[in-house]
Amino acid sequence: MTNIAVLTAYVIVLSLYVNLGIALYGIFARPSLVKKLIAITILSDTANAFAVLVGYRWPRNALPKPPVIPELPVTRRVLEEYTSSAVDPLPQALVLTAIVIGLAITLFIAFIIIQYYRLYGTVDVRKVRRI
């Protein structure tokens, strides 16, 4: 039973690594600039998924909770239950910032691509080198 769980966790991490490899292939080998932009978004999302996966943990004999304390009078018992069963909130805060900055960078690269098309008349990298 434990072996199967560990094997499944390896499959999840390995599929995320495969995603990373696919995105790198798209950045380096595909000719179109828009396809490179799609690959960059996939790459940053995969890195964020790794960061969230590090903070995930399964407590003993309980269900994992999101990092929110819903009860208002915060007593010692509530805090003990929270620290023993909630997932780690710090990687989630970091990833939250990374997603918004990724959106800004995507917009910037998109308008750079539009200016590139106005200058050269193509978005294919090989044709620009030939010019």
């Binding site: 269900l63 994992p64 909770k65 999101p66 929110v68 819903p70």
Partner: protein, 94 residues
């Protein structure tokens, strides 16, 4: 058997059917011969995923997770409108 265990077993029994339906939707979204087929499949898939997330928040006993379903059902509609706006603009001639 208490009521809590009965509801949990019911939800666990329902979930493989949902996953089978998701798999069939994804096959249509990948194989779709034209682009509106894929977008329609993603549309129906996401509205079903919203119901799936509501069931999952009962299963994990943390009701704060339900607010993701509202956001998902709002923004997939936006994807739909963007793709159809792209087609209409190409039809107009520019």
């Amino acid at each position: 058997m208490s009521l809590e265990q009965q509801v949990t077993l019911f939800i666990l029994a329902v979930f493989p059917l949902y996953l089978l339906a998701f798999t069939l939707y994804i096959i249509r979204a990948i194989r779709g011969p034209t682009i509106p087929d894929s977008v329609l499949a993603i549309d129906a898939l996401s509205f079903d995923i919203a119901a799936f997330l509501a069931l999952l928040s009962i299963l994990y006993r943390s009701p704060i997770l339900i607010s993701c379903a509202v956001v998902l059902s709002l923004w997939v509609y936006a994807l739909d409108v963007y793709v159809s706006k792209y087609f209409e603009a190409r039809d107009m001639g520019d």
